[in-house]
Structure formats: structure tokens, C-alpha cells
């Protein structure tokens, strides 16, 4: 999904809704101003008729009406035509000699009495100028509308500046949260802001982070504590076996039982150690790294393994092609190499072969075995045992993969020409 910047998205909504509003406002403005102007005109006409004309009519006689009409240009006394209401307003056209055309006027007809005769006083005001003003006002409004559209479509630097200032606290919080690493167990300090929503956001994120840290700490402690707590009962178990073995008059059968218990408890101890190791790798508790010569580690491991290999007449061939130096924690690199080599011995056949090759940034270990190719997806999972005949903790390859993940190395498996091959790319 293509992501847009918040500003662009905001402006687009403003453009749409603001444009629509401005567009609707134009006819509304035109109509409203029209109505308002007519009202004002009517008031003016009524005022003029009552206060100015009627006063001058008080002394007028019927035979002087044509003279009055002659001097008053915008007003005229007309004979009564049976109008019922006192005042009637109409809009109609009159011929204007100045403009030399028919001009729309607002007209007031008022009933008056001159001597004893009933007459109508007509008073009118041209609406030509007003119409012109309204029209140019509307045009101006329209111009503003287009300006607005332009502003939203191509936001100016000023808009960007204002936007940046407004959203600054938000982007600060965002980068703080992005930089946050749960393993560093540091809660970021957010900059105080006077915008309520951003302050609320900061509080919420702070809360979330401290809760996660708490949960992370508890989980970390739990795995470690659980493994540690298990050490003591295992120690008791072992010591009791050592004591039991000292009993006089043990039968052969009893000795065999003790022997299998020794083996079981050894497996438990090993499993527990591996779980603890995994937890520690997960929790990045091996921070100290050093330059290590892979060949040395391999040889060290082989010195322990050669006896086991010889017992099964397994031939080990080593090709150290290039000197390989890696940056890692010694315990972890040893664990990685040991796990791979022990597997190569353990899952081998009688009179089998192991081939170890080392290049500058690649370690490859291949061995013969009694099963065909293994499922690579399952292979590196915890407790996914591939070979039912060979007992193990089921964690060896999971540990190997976790160590590789930690240092950004690649570990892969291949089955080729009847040989299982594990490769680590440093």
C-alpha cells in the first residue's frame, strides 16, 4: 500500500470539503445579499415617503399635483386605483433617461389624501448600482474560491512551516519510539507539549513502554529462575544416586537401574543447561565479544570428539583452507561448533566419514548418515527430533540457529550424494 504524508492527506480533505463549502457559498451569498439589499431599500423608501414627501404634501392642493410631479423626479402622485393596503412594495422596470434603458427599480405605493381626494404616492429607487455591487462581490468571491483551490493543491512553504511546527511534538515522539529498544530497558523521555492530544499520546506510549519493559523483565527472570530452581533438585537427585551406588550388596540388576537413572538425570541436566543457554541468548546476555580463530575452536572440539569418533571407526577429514577470524562470544562460538560436530558424530554410521572445511567466512561440516535428507524447516526447531534412535536434548540445532541469528550469520542444511551438510556463513 502506498503511504502518503499526513500533510498531503490533510490538504486533500481540506481541498475537498473547503472547495465544496466555498462553491455552495457563492449562490448563497448572491441570494442572501439580494434579499438583504431589498429589505434595506424598502426601509429607506418608507422612511423617505413618511418623513419627507408626506410633510411637503400637507399644504398641496389637488390642482397643484401636476406641478409637484414635475419637480419630484423619483416620486409621483397617482390617482387612487383601489389599493387596499396602506403600503405596497413592488419591483418593476422603469425607463431611465440617463442610462437610456429600462432600469429595475424598487417601488413603494402609499395611500395618501390630498384635500378630500384619495391618491397614491409612488416612491422609487433604482437598483442598478446595487446589482452591480452584488455582481462584482460574487465575482470576487469566485476569485477567492479559485485562490483557495490553488492554495490547497500547491501548498506553499508557509503551509509546510506551520504544519511542521504544529506536528513537531508528534514527530519527536515518533522518532523516540522508533529508537526505543526493549533490550536497553530505557524509557524514552518525551518532550513536553502544550497540545492536549500529543501530551495524551506521550503519556499512553510511556505507559505502554513501561508495561512492556516490566513484562519483558518478568519473562527474562522467569526463564532464568526456572532453570536455576531446577538445578537444586537435580543436584539432590544426582547426589542421592552417588550415595545409592555406595550401598553394599547391590545386585547387578540394581546397579543397572542406577546406571539408567544416571543417564536420565544427565539428559535432564543437559536439557536444562541448554534451555538456560537459549534463554540467555534470547536475552542477549552474552555481550562480551572477542576476535576468535574458528580453526582453533574446531580443533579444540575435535580433541574431545576424536575418541567418540574412533569408537565408531569414523574418519574425520579437516581442510583448513583459509584462516578465519570472527567477532563473537567464546562460549557461544564453542557451543555452535560443538553442536554441529557432535551431531556429525552422533548421527553417523559405523565406519562413516566426516568432512570439515573452513574458508575465510565459511565453515562446512558434512557427514554420512543412516537417514536420507532431512526437512530443513523442521530441523532447526526446538524439540523437533529427526532421529528417534539417537537421544539428545532436541535443542542443539535450535541453539546453533539462535547463535547465528544473534551475529547475523547464515546457517543452512543440504543433503547431497548421501551426505548431510551444514554450512555456516560468517
Amino acid at each position: 500500500m502506498k503511504r502518503k504524508k499526513l500533510l498531503n492527506k490533510t490538504l486533500r480533505y481540506y481541498l475537498f470539503s473547503g472547495g465544496l463549502m466555498a462553491l455552495v457559498a457563492i449562490p448563497l451569498y448572491y441570494l442572501g445579499y439580494n434579499i438583504y439589499y431589498i429589505q434595506e431599500t424598502d426601509e429607506f423608501l418608507l422612511e423617505q415617503s413618511n418623513n419627507i414627501y408626506l410633510k411637503s404634501l400637507e399644504t398641496l392642493t389637488e390642482n397643484k399635483i401636476h406641478v409637484w410631479n414635475k419637480y419630484n423626479h423619483e416620486a409621483e402622485i397617482l390617482p387612487d386605483n383601489g389599493q387596499k393596503e396602506e403600503n405596497v412594495f413592488v419591483t418593476r422596470k422603469f425607463y431611465d433617461s440617463h442610462e437610456d434603458e429600462e432600469v429595475e427599480c424598487r417601488v413603494l405605493y402609499s395611500k395618501i389624501k390630498i384635500e378630500d381626494g384619495n391618491y397614491l404616492l409612488m416612491n422609487r429607487l433604482s437598483m442598478l448600482e446595487a446589482k452591480k455591487i452584488i455582481r462584482s462581490g460574487t465575482a470576487l468571491h469566485l476569485a477567492f474560491f479559485f485562490l483557495l483551490l490553488l492554495g490547497f493543491t500547491f501548498p506553499s512553504r508557509l503551509v509546510y512551516k506551520v504544519y511542521k511546527k504544529l506536528w513537531k511534538p508528534f514527530y519527536q515522539t515518533l522518532s523516540d519510539v522508533e529508537r526505543f529498544n526493549i533490550r536497553s530497558s530505557e524509557i524514552p523521555v518525551f518532550h513536553p507539549t502544550d497540545i492536549q492530544e500529543f501530551e495524551q499520546l506521550n503519556r499512553a506510549v510511556e505507559n505502554l513502554i513501561s508495561n512492556s519493559l516490566q513484562a519483558y523483565k518478568i519473562q527474562k527472570e522467569f526463564t532464568e529462575n526456572a532453570s536455576h530452581e531446577m538445578q537444586t533438585p537435580l543436584a539432590v537427585f544426582r547426589s542421592k544416586l552417588d550415595i545409592l551406588l555406595q550401598q553394599k550388596d547391590l545386585t547387578g540388576e540394581q546397579s543397572q537401574i542406577i546406571q539408567s537413572l544416571y543417564e536420565v538425570v544427565s539428559r535432564l541436566v543437559h536439557m536444562n543447561k541448554n534451555l538456560l543457554l537459549l534463554a540467555k541468548i534470547d536475552n542477549m546476555q552474552f555481550p562480551d565479544t572477542q576476535s576468535l580463530n574458528v580453526a582453533e575452536i574446531v580443533n579444540e572440539s575435535l580433541s574431545f570428539l576424536s575418541e567418540q569418533a574412533e569408537a565408531n571407526h569414523i574418519e574425520i577429514q579437516t581442510d583448513i583452507n583459509e584462516n578465519s577470524i570472527v567477532q563473537a562470544n567464546k562460549t557461544l562460538l564453542e557451543s555452535l561448533v560443538n553442536n554441529l560436530l557432535v551431531n556429525a558424530v552422533k548421527h553417523n554410521i559405523l565406519c562413516g566419514k566426516i568432512h570439515i572445511s573452513l574458508w575465510k567466512s565459511k565453515l562446512s561440516i558434512s557427514n554420512t548418515g543412516n537417514v536420507a535428507g532431512l526437512n530443513e524447516n523442521m530441523l532447526f526447531r526446538r524439540f523437533s527430533r529427526m532421529n528417534e534412535k539417537v537421544k539428545g536434548s532436541g535443542l542443539g540445532l535450535a541453539i546453533a540457529r539462535q547463535i547465528c541469528l544473534l551475529y547475523g550469520w547464515e546457517i543452512g542444511y543440504e543433503y547431497e550424494n548421501g551426505r548431510h551438510r551444514f554450512e555456516v556463513n560468517f
Partner: protein, 224 residues
């Protein structure tokens, strides 16, 4: 030989005491920090076995108290915490050895034996057992003045067995002693059998018969 065991886990303490008491050691037990410090101040011990996690205090402070009292007792830390930092810290404060739990009692026995030899008989590097003379420094083994040539692992095994004389030691324990962490990756401990066989043959040839007894093919014992 007097040993003080500072350990709050009762079952474990009981096993350790039983195992050691049959080996001519006089073993006393302190289950907490207070008791441990009291005993250290009053009595002298040849060796102290120290658990780091005590209910009322840190085991390392026991060590500090001991060193302040200027006592030259050998100390072996026995801890459920198998971390390098604790190991380094303990050795730095003045512990002589560090044995992570869960350990085998014969392993503890061998460590105590070696430690007491180091601290008590600093000038004497010769161990004698069944007229066998073992020089710890030159790693030479002699029988009636004649040298018996042993491999490094055979020599190691011999010392381990003598350090736990008259006790039955399972071949699993020997396997773990010989190959450390790698041992528990294998279930096949036949290589122990091979080493024992070779050792027995070499001793026999030199005239030392029946010192190593095999118990139903599962354990071995150095009979003195």
C-alpha cells in the same frame, strides 16, 4: 580433616556429609549465613564448601568475612549459578575452586582432595596409595621405583579414583570428569571403559593388581 559445608538445601547437605564422612573427613554443616559466619570465627577448617545463595545473606559475604579474619582456609564455591561473572568474582575474592550445581559427589570429593593437598602439603607433591607413588608436579607415577607411563587421561582418571578411594564411581561420572560439557551430548560412555582397561593393564604389568575394582560394569572403585 575438618570441612565446613555451608548449604541451605537440606537433602543435598545430607548427601554431601554422608559421602564425605566415609572418607575420613569430619564434616560440619551450616544452613544459613549467620551460623556460617559464627562457625568460621570460632573454629578452623581445612576446607569450606560454600553455596552462594543463602536464605539470609549472600555467600560471597561469607567469603569476605573469612578473608577479613585472615584465615587461610581453602574455599570451594558450589553454586546453582553457572555464570562466568560469578566464577570470576568468587575466585577474585579468594575462592580456590568453583563447582556449578548439579555436580557429582565424586567430582566434589576429587576437588576437595586436590585442594587440601595444595593447601596443607604445599611442599609435598607425592601421593602414595597401594605402594604407588604419584608425583603431582612432574605427573610421574612410580611403582617400586619403576615408572609407569600413563596418558594424560589415564593420569587424570587415576587421581580421580584415588581422590575418591573406597567409593564406587559411576562411569557417567568419570565420562563427565574426562570430557566436561561434551560428555552429556553423548550417551555412549564406552571410551571410559577403554581408558580404565588400559590403566588397569598398565598398573597390573607394574605389579599393582586389583586396585581398581569393576562393579557390574557400571562403576569403578579404588580399593586401598
Amino acid at each position: 580433616m575438618k570441612i565446613l559445608l555451608i548449604e541451605d538445601e537440606h537433602d543435598l547437605a545430607q548427601s554431601i556429609m554422608e559421602y564425605l564422612s566415609k572418607q575420613d573427613y569430619l564434616c560440619e554443616h551450616a544452613a544459613n549465613y549467620r551460623n556460617a559466619v559464627e562457625r568460621i570465627m570460632v573454629y578452623d577448617y581445612d576446607c569450606i564448601l560454600l553455596d552462594l545463595m543463602l536464605p539470609d545473606g549472600d555467600g560471597l559475604s561469607v567469603l569476605e568475612a573469612l578473608k577479613k579474619g585472615n584465615k587461610q582456609t581453602g574455599v570451594i564455591i558450589i553454586s546453582a549459578k553457572d555464570s562466568l561473572e560469578d566464577k570470576i568474582k568468587g575466585i577474585h575474592i579468594g575462592a580456590d575452586d568453583y563447582l556449578p550445581k548439579p555436580f557429582h559427589l565424586p567430582e566434589l570429593g576429587a576437588r576437595i582432595y586436590a585442594l587440601i593437598r595444595r593447601t596443607q602439603y604445599a611442599s609435598n607433591n607425592i601421593i602414595t596409595s597401594n605402594s604407588l607413588q604419584i608425583n603431582l608436579l612432574s605427573k610421574e607415577v612410580r611403582m617400586d621405583g619403576k615408572e609407569i607411563v600413563l596418558t594424560k587421561k589415564e593420569f587424570d582418571l587415576l587421581l580421580f579414583l584415588i581422590g575418591n578411594k573406597n567409593r564406587v564411581i559411576s562411569k557417567n561420572v568419570l565420562a563427565e570428569h574426562l570430557s566436561g560439557d561434551m560428555a552429556d551430548m553423548f550417551d555412549n560412555h564406552d571410551f571410559v571403559y577403554a581408558h580404565i582397561k588400559n590403566l588397569k593393564a598398565k598398573l597390573s604389568k607394574a605389579g599393582n593388581h586389583d586396585s581398581i575394582k569393576t562393579i557390574y560394569g557400571t562403576g569403578y572403585k579404588w580399593v586401598e
